[in-house]
C-alpha cells in the first residue's frame, strides 16, 4: 500500500516534519507501507506559478499524481495566524477537486502553544470534508511542550492505527469514463437520435 505524507513545515529541521515522520513510522510499524514524503517548501514556487498560470510544473504535477494515487495520506501543517499555513492551503487549492474523494486522511498540526490545538477541528477537518476525503477520528496536534511531555506517542499510535485500518478500503481515483453523448442529450429531455449523424 502507498502512503503519502504532505508536510508544510518551512524550517530545517522542522517540528512539522518531525511529527510527520513519527506518524508515518507508526503506520509502517503496524502495516508495512511504501511511504513518499512531499515537502511543500520545495514546491512553493511551482504552487505560486500554478495559481497564476493555471497548470502545474513538473515537480508539482508529480506530487499531485502521488497524492491522487495514494491509499492513504498524512497531512501536517504548522499553525500560522490561527489556521493552516497559506502554503498548505494553496497545495490543496490547486489539486484536482476529485483527487481526495474517498481517501483516508490523517490530519496533524504543530504550533508553539497548545492553545491552537482546535485548529485540527475548526480548519483542517472541514477542509478535508469539503474535498470528500475520509478523515480519521483522531487528529494529532503537537505543541512545543508536547515534545517533552506524556501523551503525544499515544495519540500518534491511535491515529496511525485508525489510518492503517482505513487504507485497504481507500478509493483510488479512476479515469472518468466519457458519458456517451446520446445519454447527455437524453438527460436534458431532448429526443436521442438512433445513431450519430454522418457528415
Amino acid at each position: 500500500m502507498k502512503l503519502v505524507v504532505v508536510s508544510a513545515g518551512l524550517s530545517v529541521p522542522s517540528s512539522t516534519r518531525l511529527l510527520a515522520d513519527r506518524l508515518s513510522a507508526a503506520v509502517d510499524r503496524g502495516t508495512p507501507v511504501d511511504t513518499e514524503v512531499i515537502e511543500l517548501r520545495d514546491l512553493a514556487v511551482e504552487i505560486a506559478h500554478h495559481l497564476t498560470s493555471g497548470f502545474p510544473g513538473r515537480a508539482l504535477a508529480a506530487a499531485q499524481d502521488a497524492v491522487a494515487g495514494a491509499d492513504g495520506l498524512i497531512v501536517v501543517t504548522p499553525v500560522f495566524s490561527a489556521s493552516y499555513s497559506g502554503l498548505f492551503k494553496s497545495f490543496f487549492d490547486v489539486l484536482d477537486k476529485d483527487a481526495l474523494v474517498g481517501k483516508p486522511v490523517l490530519i496533524a498540526a504543530t504550533g508553539g502553544t497548545a492553545r491552537h490545538s482546535l485548529v485540527l477541528d475548526h480548519a483542517l477537518r472541514p477542509l478535508f470534508s469539503h474535498l470528500r476525503a475520509v478523515v480519521v477520528p483522531t487528529g494529532v496536534y503537537a505543541a512545543s511542550e508536547d515534545w517533552g511531555a506524556e501523551g503525544l506517542p499515544d495519540r500518534i499510535e491511535r491515529a496511525a492505527e485508525e489510518l492503517a485500518a482505513l487504507m485497504p478500503k481507500a478509493r483510488r481515483r479512476q479515469e472518468e469514463p466519457v458519458v456517451p453523448f446520446a445519454q447527455q442529450l437524453a438527460a436534458l429531455g431532448a429526443r436521442p437520435r438512433e445513431q450519430a449523424p454522418v457528415r
Binding site: A48, S53, G57, E176, V178, L188, G189, Q195, A196
Partner: protein, 366 residues
C-alpha cells in the same frame, strides 16, 4: 492545412510605454490585423467574443461582416462563439447572414466561456455550462438543417413552426469547431456530430493536449465518421519572432512579464519550455509548430495568437509579415510531407457543398 490567427480582442496597456489604446483604436487594429492576414496569405481570421472589459469584441458578426467586405479569400471564424449564453436562434440567423455576405467564407468555433458573471448577465447559470452547450447546439444544428423547426428544451422558450432566416447559403450550414481545454464532454460532443475539435493548447503542456485530442479522435471513429486519423483537429499557437532570437526575447519579455493570464507568474523561459509559446527566430517557430504533429497527429488547422498583451499594431503587423512570408510557406510544405492521402483537409463551404451534391446524386440514383 489551414493557417491563421485568432485574437482575444483585449485592450491592454503597452507595458513599455504605459499607453492604453482606445476601444476604437483596438477595434480598428483588429481589422487591420485581419486585412494583413489576407495580404500575407493566411487562411483564417478568428475573433473572440467577450462581454466584459477589457475586451472589445462583443459583436463578432458586425466585425466579421466588415472584414468580409474588404477581403477575398480569408475564412472568417470565431474563437469562440458563446454557445452557452447566446440564443442559438440568434447565432443561426447572424452566421447564416454572414455566410451570404462572405460568399461562404465562414465557420465557427463554439465555446462555453469561463467568465462567471457573463452567465447571470445573460440570464443563465454557469453550473449548467455543459448542458447549455449541449442543448443550444442541438437546436442550432436543427435551425440550420431543417426549414421549419418545432422545439422544446430546458433552457429556451419553445419554438413552434419557426424558420430561421436567411437559410444557410446553398443549404449548407457553416462548419463548426468545438473548442475546449479540459472538458471531455465537449470532445465527445464534437466527435458525436463529426464536427471539428479545437484544442486551445497555448497555455497548456503538450501531454494534456495529447490526451484530449486522442479522446476526440477515438470517439470520432466510434461514431462512424472515419478513422481516428481522419478526425478534424485544430490547435493554437503563440509566437513572437525577430531575425535573431536574442532580439525576440529582449523585445517580448516586458509584454510576457505583464501579460494578462500568465504575467507575473512563471518565467518566460519556463513558460516557453512548457507551453507552445515560442519566442525566437522564424526557424524556431517553424520547428516548434512542426513538433505539434508528434503530439496530436496530422491535423487541419493551426491558429496563432499574435496580438495580445499590449503589443503595438505596428509590431503585430511586422509579426504577421514574418508569419506569412517566412513561417507558413515552410509549414505548408513540411506538414504535407508524409501526410497520409486519406487525412482530409478542414471542411470549407465549397467542400461541404460538393459533399452535399454528391450525396444528393447518390440518393437520386437509388
Amino acid at each position: 492545412m489551414q493557417f491563421g490567427i485568432f485574437t482575444v480582442g483585449d485592450v491592454t496597456p503597452d507595458p513599455t510605454t504605459g499607453r492604453t489604446p482606445t476601444e476604437r483604436e483596438r477595434i480598428k487594429a483588429m481589422v487591420a490585423i485581419a486585412l494583413k492576414a489576407e495580404e500575407v496569405g493566411l487562411d483564417v481570421f478568428a475573433t473572440g467574443e467577450h462581454h466584459n472589459p477589457p475586451f472589445v469584441p462583443s459583436s463578432p458578426t458586425t466585425m466579421l461582416g466588415y472584414i468580409a467586405a474588404r477581403t477575398e479569400n480569408l475564412i472568417l471564424s470565431t474563437s469562440t462563439t458563446l454557445i452557452t449564453t447566446n440564443d442559438p436562434v440568434k447565432i443561426a440567423e447572424d452566421y447564416a447572414m454572414l455566410q451570404h455576405l462572405a460568399d461562404g467564407r465562414v465557420d465557427l468555433m463554439m465555446g462555453r466561456g469561463n467568465t462567471g458573471p457573463v452567465y447571470p448577465w445573460f440570464g443563465k447559470d454557469i453550473r449548467e455550462g455543459i448542458n447549455l452547450a449541449v442543448e443550444n447546439y442541438a437546436l442550432l444544428r436543427r435551425l440550420w438543417r431543417e426549414d421549419v423547426v418545432d422545439w422544446e428544451g430546458k433552457f429556451r422558450t419553445p419554438l413552434q413552426g419557426f424558420t430561421s432566416t436567411p437559410r444557410p447559403l446553398d443549404g449548407v450550414a457553416p462548419f463548426v469547431w468545438h473548442g475546449s481545454i479540459r472538458s471531455p464532454e465537449i470532445a465527445e460532443q464534437a466527435a458525436y456530430y463529426g464536427d471539428g475539435f479545437f484544442h486551445n493548447n497555448i497555455f497548456w503542456p503538450a501531454e494534456h493536449t495529447r490526451r484530449m485530442v486522442e479522446l476526440y479522435r477515438n470517439r470520432y471513429a466510434h461514431y462512424g465518421h472515419g478513422t481516428p486519423a481522419q478526425a478534424i483537429v485544430g490547435l493554437g499557437g503563440q509566437a513572437f519572432m525577430r531575425k535573431n532570437s536574442q532580439d525576440a526575447v529582449r523585445e517580448f519579455r516586458p509584454y510576457f512579464d505583464n501579460a494578462p493570464v500568465y504575467g507575473h507568474g512563471p518565467s518566460l523561459e519556463d513558460f516557453t519550455e512548457q507551453t507552445p509559446l515560442t519566442v525566437g527566430s522564424p526557424q524556431q517557430v517553424i520547428d516548434r509548430t512542426l513538433s505539434f504533429r508528434e503530439t496530436v497527429g496530422d491535423y487541419q488547422r493551426q491558429l496563432f495568437l499574435m496580438d495580445h498583451a499590449g503589443l503595438p499594431l505596428k509590431t503585430v503587423l511586422e509579426q504577421l509579415d514574418m508569419l506569412g512570408e517566412e513561417v507558413v510557406p515552410v509549414l505548408r510544405k513540411e506538414f504535407a510531407v508524409g501526410r497520409p492521402a486519406d487525412v482530409p483537409e478542414a471542411p470549407t463551404h465549397r467542400s461541404l457543398l460538393a459533399a452535399k451534391a454528391a450525396e444528393e446524386k447518390e440518393e437520386s440514383a437509388v
